[in-house]
Amino acid sequence: MASAIRIKGGRVYDPLHGLNGVVKDLCVEDGKIVQECHGAAEVIDATNLVILPGGVDIHTHIASPAVNAARGLRPEDHRLLCCPRKPGLRSGVGFTVPSTFTTGYLYAQLGYTTVMEAATPPIGTRHTHEELNDIPMVDKGCYLLMGNNEFILQYLKSGDLEKIKRYVAWLLHSLKGFGLKLVNPGGVEQWKYGKDVEGLDEKVNHFDVTPRQILQALTWVNEELGLPHSIHIHANRLGVPGNYQVTLETMRALEGKRVHMAHVQFHSYGGEDYVSFTSKAKEMADYINGHPNVTVDVGQVVFGDATTITADGPWQYRLHKLTKNKWYNLDVEVETGSGIVPYTYREKNYVNALQWAIGLETFLLIKDPWRVFLSTDHPNGGPFLYYPWIIKLLMDAEFRSQMLKRVHKRVLSHTMLPHLSREYSLYEIAIITRAGPARALGLRNKGHLGPGADADIAIYVDAKDKEEMFERAAYVLKDGKIVVRDGEVVESCPGRTIFAEVPGDDDLLTELRDKFEKYYTVEIGNFPIPLEDLPFHQAVPTGRPV
């Protein structure tokens, strides 16, 4: 039976189609947005309500072996937020690393309908998909970690770019990955013997290649394969004072290529240590403003508890030494590493407060909202539950200056924030949380409300306090079904796993079989994940991006 819904009289923000608060009816049929409903339709009266496409999170950590390790590591965190079972829904826990069902419900309550897990090691991707299968309410995908893959390093050493391309294609195809992720390219390989790389031209132990070569090779591969999303980069030296130079150098090395720089806030630091720590958000924004090939997500810091989870093993060890907090590390054979350290961002801590300011500077200094996206690098900068608070900071300069008075005093003289009067409009918020990330991901059916789009729609009660407004969506429609009402999940839906449709390449198998035998501990036959293991899925076509 065709299900149809007419959303009447709401103010529509659909940046892809230039709709900026236009009062307009929206029609939904069979899970898609249509020009006009055929026949009877349920009516949602959206008079005085604000209608946006469902939110799209381009960078979050919600499902992976490391995320689950973080859950297991932090029972004390879960005690802060318990979510009881309701008919048709499952129970769970928050807070910074919520359990799977709860993750889906919490995202949906905010009006998000598409989220991307930003890091999965290939050998653990079977796990990642099983977790994603248990995250309801949202469509989801994952980026495969490649920046320290030893097979790629070997091929690179012998200069065989074509082989890298075929191997990457095989991985994406076999593991149903959506994109390519680089984390501290070369540095995580160094970490396997307890070291890191300092800069782009340092040779990686045993492999005689440099981070620069890895970056360039995989960016080339990404474009050659015509993946929907650009290469997704967590640059070298995350969190380290003075790292902005290596970040700039990374972008320069890839000039002219589509590139997404993840959580730039963590990569925009000046100074030589945490005492002389300064903001380089302006330098970064200047570069980004002049280079339309670059998109970024911010990795905004929010005050309170966070759990840092990253494949960047050496950084996590540094953070453990800095904080003395518990430290989890898992190096993953052939592929990558991972580390987890609980962390608390404090308003009265100079470094934390400046990190907070740097994030906001980044948002406010980058001129083109289509290239800067909202993220906390959940849960590294703080949990995604705080997105509404960040939106308020962006839309309300007065609120920003109040916050600035509360944080560590030294920050005031080290940030441009007091001089940045820019306030984001709802239209711009719709871009940085919906239209922009959907476009950067190459998801043509997401992030807009034109005919043919997936009927993933978030409807809010307009309020002066934007945090209040975005905390609880009045309605959320997922694939044309009402799944959230008055901020509460009313119906569970499974959501789809999205992956890039890369053709398989079985010719490489003989060679890979030998490499597996020598260096892995699993049979190559048990490596690929059959499509049947993803009960709800959708392939996104590849090809030269427009």
Binding site: L73, R74, R79
Partner: protein, 271 residues
């Protein structure tokens, strides 16, 4: 304003523990009897009413008296901030856990996690305490962060584990790992202690009045008569907690745990 007397009616032979978190002065002092009787208690997966398990006398008071065998009743006084609870029998797990103020007296034994992660107030246990009194729940960085736990009987394993601040006094014995990984605060033990006392401690003091096997990662640094011990003992006596007379005895001071930062101390009374 009198006191509220809650007399336990038992659970009809059921062995399923009863969770009675609402029994705190903070809540009861705002309620009349009928409201108290309607407070929810949790018996396994069922939510029942306080009146199903307790007969209630008195209302609107921050003084609560509990009667009957409560050894299967958990969570009394969890998170309490003010007032006083007197328990005239033994009590189940978590009594006074996470309390921030007020006073609980137990005229009997307490189950495990008594006063766990408390930050203030006084928990006075007439009998013995179980494991992990004043300690941390699994995963938490800190156990007790303030307040006082007085135990007239003995205590179980890991008493005062992960302690950050506050005082625990035990007249009887303790099992293994007293003060495990503690960060600060003081533990006094007048009986004997089990093995690995102070293992992993960073700072803080454990004062023992009987000889013990000190871990190899503690180092004897001096023998002296610490003034703070005398002051603490005087304060305890003035509050009515009888402690043995030790005269002006001297204490051997062991520094450790050298496997961690090594700034904690175990003081052992030398007579």
């Amino acid at each position: 304003m009198g006191e509220i007397i809650l007399t336990f009616k038992g659970m009809g032979g059921s062995t399923v523990p009863l969770e009675a978190d609402p029994i705190t002065p903070d809540l009861l002092q705002l309620k009349v009897r009928a409201e108290i009787e309607r407070l929810p208690l949790y018996h396994g997966n069922e939510q029942l009413l306080l009146g199903d398990f307790f007969s209630v006398k008195g209302e609107r008071s921050n003084q609560i008296r509990l009667r009957g065998d409560l050894s299967q009743v958990k969570n009394i006084g969890v998170g309490m901030q003010t007032g006083r609870i007197v328990i005239e029998s033994s009590i189940g797990m978590h009594v006074g856990a996470r309390m921030t103020g007020g006073e609980i007296q137990v005229h009997g034994n307490a189950g495990d996690w008594a006063g766990a992660e408390m930050t203030g107030g006084l928990l006075w246990i007439n009998g013995s305490a179980g494991n992990r009194a004043g300690s941390a729940y699994r995963g938490s960085k800190y156990g007790m962060r303030g307040g006082v736990i007085l135990i007239e009987g003995s205590g179980g394993h890991e008493v005062g584990g992960y302690m950050r601040r506050g005082l625990i006094v035990v007249r009887g014995n303790l099992e293994d790992h007293a003060g495990a990984r503690m960060v600060a605060g003081s533990i006094f033990v007048f009986g004997r202690v089990g093995g690995r006392t102070g293992g992993g401690m960073k700072r803080g003091s454990i004062v023992c009045f009987n000889p013990l096997d000190v871990l190899p990662t503690f180092r004897l640094t001096s023998t002296y008569a610490p003034l703070f011990v005398t002051i603490y003992l005087r304060a305890l006596r003035s509050r009515g907690f009888s402690v043995p007379e030790i005269g002006g005895g001297r204490f051997a001071r062991y520094c450790g745990d050298l496997a961690e930062s090594g700034k904690g101390e175990i003081l052992v009374w030398q007579g």
